[in-house]
Each structure stands twice: as C-alpha cells, then as structure tokens.
Amino acid sequence: MKRTFLVYIFIFSMSFFSCTEKVDIELDSTYERVVIEGNLTNEYKNHQVKISRSADYFANKPAEPITGADVSITDGTSNFELTEIDPGLYETEEMVGIPGQTYTLNITIDDKKYSASDYMHTCPPIDSIGFKRFKMDSNYIALIIFAQEPSEETNYYAWKAYRNDTLVTDTLNEVFISDDTFINGNYINGTEVQYIKAKKDDLITLEMLSITQPYYDFITKIMLETDWDGGPFDGPPANFYGNISNEALGFFAVYSVERKTAIISEP
C-alpha cells in the first residue's frame, strides 16, 4: 500500500542528522471560519453534527462551539431536524441511513446557509478477523481482515478498532484508510488494517467503513497537513475544503459500517 511507503520514507528521512528543538514564534491571525463535522451511517442511532469556530494558531484552548444554529438532514424526500443537546453539538432522533441514498446536510447560522451532500456506499461483509504480533513494536497487535472486495466500482475504506467495547481509534490520525487500487476484486486474505495496543483475552472489534472518494481525499488532506507533515519530501502546505458550501471547513460524511468481533487467544 502506498501509505506504508510514505511512512518508511518518513522514518528514513527524519532519522538522520536532524534534531528538533521547541521554539517561540509569533504568528499573524486570519479571519474566522465556520467548522462543521457531521456523520450519518447505516446504524440505527442518534447521528451527530458538531459546529465550531476556527481560532488563532496558538489559541491553545478547545474550539469555541457555535450555538443556536438551524441543522437538518434530508434524503430528498424526508427532512430530519437535529436538536442541540450540548453547545455546538446537534443530534438527530434515532434513525438509520440507507445504502444507495444521497443525504444532504443543511445548516443556517445567522442568516448564512451551508450545505453538504454525500452518498452512502454499501460495505462488504467481513468474513473474519485475526491477529498478528506487530513486528516493529511487540506491545501492539495487527488486526488482519478476511473479506471479499467487490470489483464493480472503486471503493474506499476506513478502519477503526474497539478494545473491550471502548473505541481505541478515536482521533482521525488513528483511523486507517485505503483505496482499492492494489486489491480491487481480490479476496483480502489477511491484510493488516489496524494496529492497537492489546493483549491476550481482550475482546477486539474491527469496524470497517465504506466511504466515498471525497471523504477519503478529505481525510488524506488532513493527514498531509498534520501527522504526515514534516518530512523534507512534503509539498508545500495548503488550505483545503471538504464538501461544505460557502467556505465552511470540515466534512459531512455518509457511510455504511460492518463489524466483526473476536477474542485474542494467543499472547
């Protein structure tokens, strides 16, 4: 997979003579933006949308939420209103997203309108999962997957992991993503898709998300500007948008989910 190479090259490039030292720098400011983070899946539950403001680079406090916004999701026929349960956090009633449908998020804040659409792909079922000791660090195990990859279209996937019913991969940089370039139509026979700290007798759940290309590109760009940044081979940094109109940052992602659970039997 291309990403693994980038990781190796990153290690290679940074490991030589370079040293790092913290510095104090004064930076200028920029105008404020609206930031939207929304998800809709094929699970029967409350789906959430978070709305916040951008800040100065060294603001060093949590993002300020935007309250009192008008938030709704539509599938073209029905309209689902979201209610604000916490400042900046808006929730639907219990509902389910249907694969094959396109959903649109509509938000109004102080007379400015923002909207975003995404399409829900189906997700192939996971036949089973397995475990392997991770070569580079033995505290970690690699989760391997057995599934049939559909060949009809170009698919994009993301993987998250739970350990003893707690989500381990809760920040975006821990979510592993891939396109199907190298595996399209093949049977995935034990490819490593997640790495977490775990030990014997842990109950592990692998969650696979079937995402759209725009969301895959968006996650890639975030990674390029955060964790993957810092190698001498990087291109110049740049701002990017998700799928939301009117210059809002963030993404409204729609995807279906499949899970498989297993217990680690060997140490």
């Binding site: 291309k2 190479f5 190796y8 090259i9 290690i11 290679f12 490991s15 030589f16 003579f17 370079s18 040293c19 790092t20 030292e21 913290k22 510095v23 720098i25 930076l27 200028d28 400011s29 920029t30 933006r33 930031v35 983070e37 916040s52 403001r53 951008s54 800040a55 100065d56 680079y57 060294f58 060093n60 406090k61 949590p62 920040t171 975006l172 940089n173 979510v175 370039t181 190298f182 595996i183 026979n189 490819t191 890639t220 975030i222 390029l224 955060t226 940044d229 810092g230 190698g231 001498p232 081979f233 990087d234 291109g235 110049p236 940094p237 740049a238 701002n239 940052l249 963030g250 993404f251």
Partner: protein, 774 residues
C-alpha cells in the same frame, strides 16, 4: 537555411584573407603528465591578438606570414615563449611546467589572469579541481557542487543539498554534464554529497546565463565537468581515507605519451555516519554509496584521438531486512577528435546516460517492488573552424533519444495481493543544430553571435491521457512503438559582447534564449531521489526563458585582484508547479497534477577575487528576487519562488603559511527560504488542523555558518615516492543551529495546544582526512 549561412560566412572571410598570405599554427597544449589544458592562452605580442585552447587542449591561429614571438601561458604554470618564423603551416605542441612551488606562487587557476576582463564570456565561473580541494569540506568530502554554491548568483537549495538554484531558476534547470553526458541526479544521500569524486576531475565551468549555442536543454545553467585524462608518462596513484568515505585513483599510460587511462573509486562507510545518530532504530540500517570513474584516451595519430569515459555510482539504503531502497547513475561517452585540417577541428561523440531507482518491501509472502528509470542515447558532431584571428566559427548537430520508464510497482512473493501499477512509458527525440561565430573586429570589441535550433518529439510506444479544463482525466490515446505523436520546435538566439574600456576594465552584455523539454516532477525543497523526470508532451508545453545580463569588470594591482558587478533579468514561461496536495508518486495521471505559469527573476551580483599569491579566495554578494504567478496556485496571485533569497554572501579564503601548511576558511550567509505559516486552526475528528497563510508569504530565519580547514603536508620536497597530507575540517565552527524546517504540530502533552519546533541539521562537525600520492 543553415548551409546558406555557412557559405555566406565563408565567402565574406575568404575575401578578407586574399589580402595577405596567411598560415596556420596549431597544436595541443598539455601539462607534464599529458593532461590537456582547457582554456590555455596563445598570445601573439606584435598582433595583440591570440586564441585559447578548446576542451581538448587544441588551438589554431591563422595569421599573416611573418616572424613572431608567441607566448603560451596558463596561470600557475611557467609561460613559454616561442620564436616562430611563419612561412608555412606549423604544428606546435607545447608542454607547460607547473610553477615550482616557491612562497610566492600558490594557487593554480585556469586562465590568463586578466581573462575575466578580456574574454567576451560573462556570467561564468571556472574552477579547477585543485582549487576546490582547498575549500573546507563538509565531513571532509571535497565537493564540486558545494564549491559551485559559493559563487555569486548560485544558491544552495537547502542546507546540505547538492541541488542548486542559479539566478532564480529551479534546481532541475541546471544541465550537469560529466564529459558531455547528462547526469540526472547528482546527489548521494539526499544531496549531502555529490556524485563527483574530485580526484577524477580536471576542470569545472559553470555558465549562469550566457550559455553557448552549442548547448541547450536547460534554462538556467550549464555545469560542464571534465574528467582528468590520466598521466600518459608514468604510473601514479593517489587516494585518501576520510571520515565518510575512502578514495583511490590510479592513472597510467597505455602507450607512453600516446594514451593513458585513469580509474577512480570512492566508497562511503555506513556505520560511521549512523554513529552520529542517537536513535537505536537508526543503527540497524545499512546506508552507503559508491562511485567509479574510468577514462581512457589514445592518440592514434596527429589528426585523430579517441576518448572513452565511463561513470557508475549508486546509493543503497536498507532498513533492517524490511525495506530497501537504491538509486544510481551510469554514464558513458565515446569521443573521436578529428582534425580535418589545421583550421577545422571536429569531435564526434556517442553518449549514454542512465538513471534508475528501485525500492521494495521484501516480505516473502506479501512483498512489493517499485522501479523507475530514465535513459538517453545521444549522437553529437561538433566542429570548430578557425579561419583567421578575427573569427572562430562553431557549428554542429546532435540527436538524442530519451526513454522514460517513470514507474512500475508490483507485488512479489508467493501470496501477493497487490495488483500491478504502471505509469505509461514513453520516448522522446531531441534534435539540435547550432551555428555561432566569435567575431573580433578590433582589439576593443568581441562579439559572439549564435543561433541554436531544437526540435523535440514525443514518440511511442506510449499512452497519453487527456484532461478537461478541470484537470480531470477524460480519455486516453495509445500510440504504437516508434509512432511520433507530437512535435515542438524552437529557435534559441545567443548573443554576447565585450567592450574594453582600457587594459584593466571592460563592459560585457549578453542575451540568451533557452528552452527546456524535460522537467523534474518535484514538490519538495529537498529533492527526493523518487522524483521523476517528465518530458514535454501534448499536456505540458516546453519551458522557455529569456535572460539579459550586463556587467562591468575591473582588475586592480596588475590583474592580481579581479572585481565585477553583473546585473541580470530573466523572464520564464511555462514554469511548472503542482496543485495543492499533488500526488506525484506512482501516479499514471501525473500530468494532471501540473500547473504552469510565469516566473521571473532579477538581481545584482558582486564578486571580488584574488587568484595568485599566498592569500587567495573570493567574496561574492548577490542581491536578487525570484517570483512566480501561476493560475490555481496561491489563488493566482504572485508568490515568491521557494528559492527566493534576497541576500546571499560567500567569503572563501585560503592562506598558504608555508609549503607544508595551508589553512582555509569560508563563511556563508543567506536570507531564509520563503515559507508558508499557519495562522489559524480548527478541530476535526479530535485533531487540530492548521489554516495557512498565502504561499511563501513568510520567511525562515537567516542562515549563516563558518567552516575552517587546515592541511599539513608531509614529504613536500620529495619528487618521487609516497607523499601525504593530513586535513582537518570543521563544519559550522560556531555551532549555529540553522533552521532547516519549521514544524507545527499538536502538543503531545496538552492536546489543546499547538507548538512550533525547528528542525536543524548539522551542529559543529569535525572531520579528518588523510590523503596520499605516489
């Protein structure tokens, strides 16, 4: 059209020759070991005119029948005076002796002392391998490309890098030739060292703008590196053991005074370098590079000589047993000098260049291998005609076939699940023809006027993608092997003049148009060995530049001190950049990532240089600006080029205390590189994501550093047997932590906070080298 022009010139100048009986004096000038001297001077006192030797040490002078005193010289060598009674064509070969080492004569440089005032060429700097040796070396490795970066108008792309920028041009706009073969990646080890083993090199000349009509293919500079030919009188060996690598060179005659060869090898030791790393993981790696240079020459008879040059080098990196990466160049040149007559010199060459890289993950079941390579084969014929002392006419043709194999990645191993990913291969044909004349109407003026014509064609077998105005792929066309599917052509005029104000000063001016048909798809400041060369095509237009330069050259103290100030302006079109977040690795649709537009640069270069005496060196200062305007980059607004550095200073000095002891120091200063800073932030997926300024709106802190070196020689008075020297070099002697990059990231300890860190490369680094000579 070209033939008409040649005939026309012949007629005009034949007419002038009818006035008096003229005869030709010609021959070769060499040093005592048989090395041909490039740019040596032949001066006829009474006529106040003369000539210089070409790249093969050959000269030709056609003057009226008379008695003459002719002075043959090359600074650093004892001049020779020959009294010549010219009443027929004469062949005079001259061997010049190095000046005996007294306390007064020290540095050996290439040309007549006032050459900078008298020659028409400008925007060039010549440096001999012996001079390069005196400059304090990074990690003890004497390096051609590091020496080039100390010249005015030349900047290092980033600390430690072999990449260089000339007058606001990008690093892939420099044509680097090793005995006429193109070297595509002149870096070892991410650019910390170049691929040129200084022991194998005779001469290096950098043309910063005023590129002769005989050369083309890159916009910003020509770095012409010539290998040593080898001692044709007796066997010699020399070498050295250093902190990073060791070298050995052997030279010997094949047939005494008729032919010789030289073999030079160099290899680095991985362990010593990795010892500097405090990281345990790093010590498991294997990292080394090697170079092998071989050259042979043979003088068949007075009219014919053949030369064979061969180079091969490689970098190897292995991370434990998991991951391997290697890359390297190979070049081969076969040349035949033929003298059609005393006045018509010709050279015919066959040249092959190859660059490739390979990386792989060598798991037995699920492995992966990725290869890429580029090779050229070129045929070239060059002629120089010396009809009289007022004209030197050069003309020639060349044809190159390029083969591009940008990338092939496939799974290897018994259970591979990876499909094959291949970027389309392609070929290109590059044809060129040129004609130029150096005309000296009188003592005060020299004019060079030349025209180069080039044709560039894309040829199959290949697949070309078509893109719509949003750079999305629409469809593709496949072409068969040998099918020519696109042609670009252009004319490149090259003109320069020199006007002498008096014996010590002159004004020079030049104009050159250059075109470039292949470019490096590189997106990072420190170029990576994974970058690929991409040819112009139906999707990418050829790059074009027009450069104007004007300079004033003045010598003081009887030519002991040279000074010059040169101003340049360069206008470039079809300059490439890439869309934000471009995917350049293994992307068959890579042409869709290109964005093209305008770039321009201008500047003022000051140089003071002393080449003779105990104390030698130079001071250079460049004031410059380089900007670009490309639709879709920085919202179409003007932005500084990533190598725009307003101020750049280099001070290089060397002092010979005695025959045994020499010390040198250099100090460099430059403005920091332009950089894009984050100004704001937002949260997504529990991560802090930066919001950036305009591209290159800010600048890193200024860079400066001082290096010193001391060399002590043993056995200086011996003329045979083992002689040696010990060199101690200290890089970055005041240990300044120059910012290489600034990193902005989330604070690991406090997830709500962001921090800035500076990455710096080399602290103070001492090194020792032991060199020996037989």
């Amino acid at each position: 059209m070209k033939y008409f022009f040649i005939c026309f010139t012949f007629i005009i100048f034949s007419a002038l020759d009818l006035i008096a009986n003229k005869y030709t004096i010609s021959g070769h000038i060499t040093d005592e070991s048989g090395e041909e001297l490039i740019g040596a001077t032949i001066y006829v006192k009474s006529l106040k005119t003369g000539s210089t030797t070409n790249a093969y040490g050959f000269y030709s002078l056609t003057i009226p029948e008379n008695d003459y005193q002719i002075i043959y010289s090359y600074v650093g060598y004892e001049p020779q005076v020959k009294n010549v009674k010219l009443n027929q064509n004469l062949k005079i070969n001259v061997v010049l002796k190095e000046k005996s080492r007294t306390l007064d004569e020290v540095v050996i440089t290439a040309s007549r002392k006032d050459a900078n005032v008298t020659k028409a060429e400008m925007s060039t700097m010549k440096i001999q391998a012996k001079e390069i040796k005196k400059i304090p070396a990074f990690m003890g490795e004497v390096d051609v490309l590091k020496a080039i970066q100390l010249m005015p108008g030349v900047q290092s792309a980033s600390e430690g890098s072999s990449g260089f920028n000339v007058r606001g041009g990008s690093a892939d706009q420099n044509l680097i030739l090793l005995d006429e073969a193109t070297v595509y990646n002149a870096s070892h080890l991410m650019g910390f060292f170049s691929v040129f083993n200084n022991d194998a090199i005779k001469d290096v000349k950098l043309y910063k703008g005023d590129i002769p009509a005989a050369y083309g293919g890159r916009l910003s500079s020509l770095l012409d590196i010539r290998m040593k030919d080898g001692n044709n009188k007796k066997f010699k060996a020399n070498g050295g053991i250093g902190t990073v690598s060791s070298r050995l060179t052997i030279e010997s005659p094949i047939v005494k005074e008729k032919g010789s060869f030289i073999i030079s090898g160099r290899r680095s030791y991985a362990d010593l370098m990795l010892m500097f790393s405090s990281d345990k993981e790093v010590r498991k790696n294997q990292l080394y590079f090697y170079d092998l240079n071989l050259k042979g020459n043979y003088k068949i008879n007075e009219k014919d000589r053949i030369y064979l040059s061969w180079y091969m080098g490689r970098d190897v990196f292995d991370y434990d047993d998991l991951f391997g990466f290697s890359w390297g160049n190979k070049t081969f040149t076969l040349r035949w000098n033929h003298l059609f007559s005393d006045k018509l010199f010709s050279n015919f060459s066959v040249i092959i260049s190859d660059y490739d890289y390979e990386l792989g993950q060598s798991s037995a079941e699920q492995g992966f291998k990725w290869t890429s390579n580029l090779n050229d084969i070129k045929f070239k014929a060059d002629y120089t005609y010396y009809p009289n002392t007022r004209n030197t006419i050069r003309f020639g043709v060349s044809g190159t076939m390029h083969h591009f194999n940008p990338g092939l990645a496939k799974g290897v191993g018994s259970e591979t699940i990876y499909n094959e990913l291949k970027m389309p291969e392609s070929n290109a044909l590059e044809w060129a023809g040129y004609l130029s004349d150096q005309w000296k109407p009188n003592e005060k003026i020299i004019v060079n006027i030349g025209l180069r014509g080039t044709i560039f064609q894309n040829m199959g077998e290949s697949t070309v993608y078509h893109f719509d105005e949003n750079y999305q792929k629409t469809d593709s066309t496949a072409y068969e092997s040998g099918e020519i599917y696109n042609t670009f052509w252009g004319l490149e005029p090259r003109v320069n003049f020199r006007y002498s104000l008096n014996n010590h000063s002159s004004i020079k001016g030049s104009y050159a148009r250059t075109k470039q048909f292949i470019q490096l798809a590189s997106n990072s400041t420190a170029g990576s060995p994974l970058d690929i060369w991409v040819p112009s095509s139906p999707n990418i237009n050829p790059q074009k530049a027009d450069q104007f330069a004007l300079g004033y050259f003045r010598n003081f103290f009887e030519d002991a001190l040279e000074t010059s100030v040169e101003a340049y302006y360069k206008d470039m079109d079809n300059q490439i950049d890439f869309r934000d977040h471009a995917q350049l690795l293994l992307n068959p649709e890579i042409e869709g990532e290109f964005r093209t537009g305008y770039a321009w640069s201008y500047g003022l270069e000051f140089l003071i240089r002393k080449q003779t005496g105990k104390f030698t060196g130079w001071v250079s200062y460049t004031l410059s600006k380089a900007e670009r305007k490309i639709p879709e980059i920085n919202q179409g607004k003007v932005y500084p080029a990533s190598y725009d550095k307003p101020h750049s200073i280099a001070i290089v000095a060397s002092y010979e205390f005695s025959k045994k002891l020499n010390a040198a120091v250099n100090w460099v200063y430059s403005s920091g590189n332009p950089v894009t800073f984050p100004l704001g932030r937002y949260e997504y997926g529990n991560m802090i994501v930066p919001i950036y300024s305009n591209r290159n709106e800010y600048r890193l802190p200024d860079y400066h550093r001082m290096d010193v070196s001391v060399t002590y020689k043993f056995g200086v008075d011996k003329t045979r047997g083992l002689r040696s020297e010990l060199n101690l070099s200290i890089y970055n002697i005041y240990n300044r932590k120059n910012t290489w990059m600034l990193l902005f990231s989330q604070d690991e300890e406090n997830p709500n906070a962001t921090i800035a860190e500076k990455v710096y490369l080399f602290p103070i680094l001492p090194s020792i080298t032991y060199n020996f000579y037989f």
